[in-house]
């Protein structure tokens, strides 16, 4: 709760200081606020408090995810300083990002369906604006509009589902819904079935699971790169945390209703995400499809739905977020010079800038799931969780999918060593370099010492 208050105050302060013209003070202030929020979050560890009549339940699951998202946000602020100075952006990014973070935090700690809905909205609306923040650019506008329409559509489904569940069980409270559903012992009734499937559709839109993924590639490609980086890390993590939390607490009793659907969603997401990513020449678009594919793997944790799966989805979120934020960081630095996002713009980076090349290699290996990177353990945990529940075929599909993944991630690594050294030097500030290096080393260390995170929950 303290975290929420700190973040809200921070959001308002940055909003007003933008208006009042204190731009210079904002960055240090934001860091201070985020670090305070992180500390406040850590203080709540193992307390398990309820707030506002179980509207919010701060348990270790939500704290772990919140902490992850705050850390990623801090890294994001360090990696994207240019964004705030570009003339094309006249929107208050600071407060929008902070407000999105508030939504993300709520999405990991809701105890009530209303809160879930509010959290999704608080998270989404700033992202719609940010997607269109490059106003002069047509594709940025297109991204914002597409994101908004699809997002609104998805929220409609979500809300309709919530209403149906409320109509049947008479409650918005997750624990009460769960108790009501458990007492029916599998005999769910049409309204519950429809409600759960509606919610599933709504959330699948949000996490970009196939076949509800069509918005993702265009939005990822069209938005400014920094916004894409935020979407594919913090927003994605929050959406999955919320997804998992809802189904874990609420719908595990009536799993017969949705388990086959999620199985198919997961398999389709893995297959289509990976295969489409193979054909992309644009790095950002490739990462968009790869993020779809990763959503497929994370859906496997929702299938497994036990405390082991809880650990594994947290580890996956950590590994995926840190690897993709470092990939986006490299892209930011590279595209700053080349002014385009194609994979070819990485050509010759190994000789031009060995540090960036090294970071790219680590990020790609981690995303591809090659040991000893964190991404490997993430996949390992998820696969083990799924095998425990005897989803052997899905694991085999996932294995083949990650094999396909190797192909397109390695295209980037190959590009690093290809071609001649040309183009200007890539300017990088010290904090930028240090953060990127720190994140990459963290991905490596987590791969060697996975116990640090895996034992948390």
């Amino acid at each position: 709760m303290t975290t929420l208050i700190i973040l809200s105050v921070l959001g308002l302060v940055t909003l007003f200081s933008e208006i009042a013209g204190y731009r210079k003070a904002m960055l240090p202030l934001t860091f201070l606020g985020l670090i305070l929020a992180l500390a406040a979050s850590a203080m709540d560890w193992n307390t398990g408090r309820h707030y506002l009549g179980e509207m919010m339940i701060v348990d270790n699951f939500s704290i772990a995810f919140t902490a992850l998202m705050i850390v990623i946000t801090i890294a994001w602020f360090i990696l994207s300083p240019d964004f705030f100075h570009e003339p094309s952006s006249r929107i208050d990014h600071f407060s929008l990002i902070i407000f999105a973070l508030i939504g993300a935090q709520l999405l990991t700690s809701f105890g009530n369906m209303i809160m879930l809905f509010l959290a999704v909205e608080i998270l989404s609306i700033p992202m719609y604006i940010l997607a269109g923040s490059n106003k002069g650019n047509l594709s940025s506008n297109e991204a914002a509009l597409k994101y908004f329409l699809m997002g609104a559509f998805a929220t409609g489904f979500l809300l309709f589902g919530i209403t149906l569940i409320y109509g049947e069980t008479g409650s918005f409270n997750l624990a009460e819904i769960s108790a009501a559903l458990t007492s029916r012992q599998g005999n769910a009734g049409a309204m519950v079935v429809a409600g759960i499937l509606m919610i599933l559709v709504g959330l699948s839109f949000k996490v970009a699971a196939v076949p509800f993924h069509f918005w993702a590639p265009d939005v990822y490609t069209g938005s400014p790169t920094v916004v894409t980086a935020y979407m594919s890390t913090v927003v994605k993590t929050a959406a999955f945390a919320g997804f998992f939390r809802l189904f874990f607490i609420c719908f595990s009793a009536s799993s017969a209703v949705w388990i086959n659907t999620v199985w198919i969603l997961s398999a389709l997401t893995i297959i289509i995400g990976n295969i489409t990513a193979v054909y992309q020449d644009n790095f950002k678009r490739m990462l968009a499809f790869s993020s779809i594919a990763h959503a497929g793997y994370m859906l496997m944790a929702i299938l497994a739905l036990n405390s082991y799966a809880q650990q594994s989805i947290l580890f996956y979120a950590v590994a995926y977020s840190i690897s993709s934020i470092s990939a986006f960081g490299v892209l930011l630095a590279v595209s700053h010079v080349t002014r385009n996002d194609s994979i070819a713009s990485f050509n010759g980076l190994a000789r031009k800038n060995p540090l960036l090349a090294f970071i790219t290699i680590l990020a790609m290996l981690s995303l591809a799931g090659i040991p000893p990177m964190a991404g490997f353990f993430a996949k390992y945990f998820i696969f083990t969780a799924a095998l425990q529940q005897h989803y052997t075929w899905l694991v085999i599909i996932a294995v083949l999918g990650s094999l396909t993944g190797v192909y397109y991630y390695f295209r980037v690594i190959i590009a690093l060593f290809k071609g001649d050294v040309e183009g200007a030097e890539i300017p990088m500030t010290f904090p930028f370099k240090a953060t990127l290096l720190f994140i990459s080393v963290a991905a490596l260390l987590l791969g060697m010492m996975p116990g640090w995170i895996a034992g948390l929950l």
Binding site: P372, T384, I396, V399, Y407, F410, I413, I414
Partner: protein, 484 residues
């Protein structure tokens, strides 16, 4: 002690990265020090004493993953091979000026760490990590210093082998979930599982796919000739001399004793595939014009024979496999060095245009014929001991298989001697006239290899004795399970 043996090459790799100009000397001295350490450990090693130099501590306790490693005779032999070959490979590469040399040697040493780790790991997860870790350095070596078509070929190689590894990972996780109580990846726990035959059959394929691709066994071999040909010679030597043994070692340690019922069910299939591979690769080798490709195919033939002998599941077959792994490692590195010398002097690997080199470079021709005869298994060379035991073991299993496999020994002699005739005999021509004989450095690379060729060929007893108790122990485990 064992941890030092595993991780010293990695520390050395970091040192190499920082060494700049002196990188290759640092790498060479580090690898020699590693070999000395290994020899010292081998002298303390008691073959009858079971698994020695054990280290066992938790790595990720909550998941039952431990850092558990140790060496019995089988591991000892392969670690000796690895630590012996790496300095030779590093020294042989001194002829070339590699761009970005520190990185090159650091990758070779990192690879060595992973290889040693694979051969000593006794925890399924640790084994898998090292297994995968071995792939990345050699991939980068081939990618950065390989031939013209390297991008396509190395990616095929990487994805192909990763496919097998991932299947193995699924198999390992499956075994892990079957272990009683708090799950564990401990090899000993896997040995005690005794799963039903139907599950073992599936697990057999999960593991066999990984190992068969690595070796490679027909029909999983298609990545191999291209990769061997296009990789830089030290990379080829690492792949063929050592990495190939990972597959056979995997079969011996992680396949046969873990799923013995699966092996009884599918072992014949594996042997048939191996023997087909032997015959098929020999036939292709007969018509090769490119010398490096010829060695690549002959390597498939040799490794097929080893695998067939190992799957025969008797003491001769397994012991033959052990000695032959050692011999093949030495011979194939020698052969690839010869090929590299030819290539760099003649700018071609096509044998048709050559001839008469014996007249201009007698020393070269002598070393060439020694390695060549060793790989066609002439008595008194190392190849003979291994092939004799392997065919003996295979004969006890099925005489027809042994007949086909034996036939290919003759084919082997044919294609190798034809190659020798084309390259070294006959009249010298314009191209070969200027062929310079061996320099001191090149001789120094080959002398240790030649010594080993004859040492194993004339007096193989110490090596056989080193592995015999472990092999017997392994067979006891397998047959003990089958009797149950």
């Amino acid at each position: 002690m064992l941890s030092v043996l595993i991780f010293f090459p990695f520390v050395a790799a970091l040192a190499t990265l920082l060494a700049g100009e002196n990188a290759k000397r640092v790498a060479l001295s580090a690898s020699i020090a590693e070999f000395a350490l290994c020899v010292w450990m081998a002298m303390q090693f008691n073959p009858a004493g079971g698994t020695q130099f054990m280290v066992d501590c938790w790595w990720v306790p909550s998941l039952g993953i431990s850092y558990k490693a140790g060496m019995d005779g089988i591991s000892m032999l392969l670690v000796l091979l690895t630590t012996f070959l790496v300095p030779v490979i590093i020294y042989s590469s001194f002829r070339h000026q590699y761009r970005n040399a520190p990185l090159f040697y650091a990758l070779v040493l990192t690879m060595q760490m992973a290889l040693v780790g694979v051969f000593v790991a006794l925890d399924g997860f640790l084994f898998y990590i090292f297994w995968e870790l071995a792939l990345i350095p050699v991939y980068l070596i081939c990618l950065m210093w390989g031939g013209a078509d390297r991008v396509r070929i190395t990616l095929k190689f990487f994805i192909y082998t990763l496919f097998g590894s991932l299947l193995m990972l699924v198999g390992l996780i499956y075994l892990y979930l079957q272990t009683p109580g708090t799950h564990t990846f401990d090899l000993q726990a896997f040995y005690k599982l005794h799963l039903p035959a139907s599950q073992q059959g599936i697990l057999f394929w999960a593991f066999f796919a990984a190992f068969a691709i690595k070796m490679p066994i027909f029909p999983f071999h298609t990545w191999q000739p291209d990769t061997y040909t296009d990789a830089p010679t030290p990379g080829t030597m690492l792949l063929s001399g050592i990495m190939l043994k990972m597959g056979i070692y995997g079969v011996i340690r992680w396949l046969l004793p873990v799923v013995p019922l699966g092996v009884t069910e599918w072992g014949t299939t594996a042997i048939v595939l191996s023997v087909i591979g032997v015959a098929y690769a020999s036939c292709i080798a007969l018509v090769q014009k490119d010398f490096k490709r010829l060695i690549a195919y002959s390597s498939i033939a040799h490794v097929g024979l080893i695998s067939a002998g190992v799957f025969a599941l008797n003491i001769q077959g397994l012991q033959g496999g052990m000695v032959q792994m050692l011999s093949h490692g030495i011979n194939v590195v020698g052969m690839f060095f010869i090929a590299d010398l030819l290539m760099s002097r003649m700018q071609t690997r096509n044998m048709d245009g050559l001839g008469g080199i014996r007249n201009v470079a007698p020393a070269f021709a002598t070393y060439f014929i020694i390695f060549l005869l060793a790989s066609v298994a002439l008595p008194l060379t190392n190849g003979f001991i291994g092939e004799f035991l392997l065919i003996n073991g295979l004969y006890q299993y099925n005489s027809w298989m042994a007949a086909v496999a034996g036939l290919t020994v003759i084919l082997g002699a044919v294609y190798m001697l034809v190659a020798y005739r084309k390259i070294a005999l006959g009249e010298k021509n314009k191209l070969t006239e200027t062929f310079a004989d061996l320099t001191m450095h090149e001789k120094a690379v080959m002398v240790p290899l030649v010594i080993m060729v004859f040492a194993i060929g004339i007096y193989p007893k110490p090596f056989l004795e080193m592995t015999e108790p472990s092999v017997k122990n392994l067979l006891d485990i397998i047959h003990g399970t089958l009797v149950r």
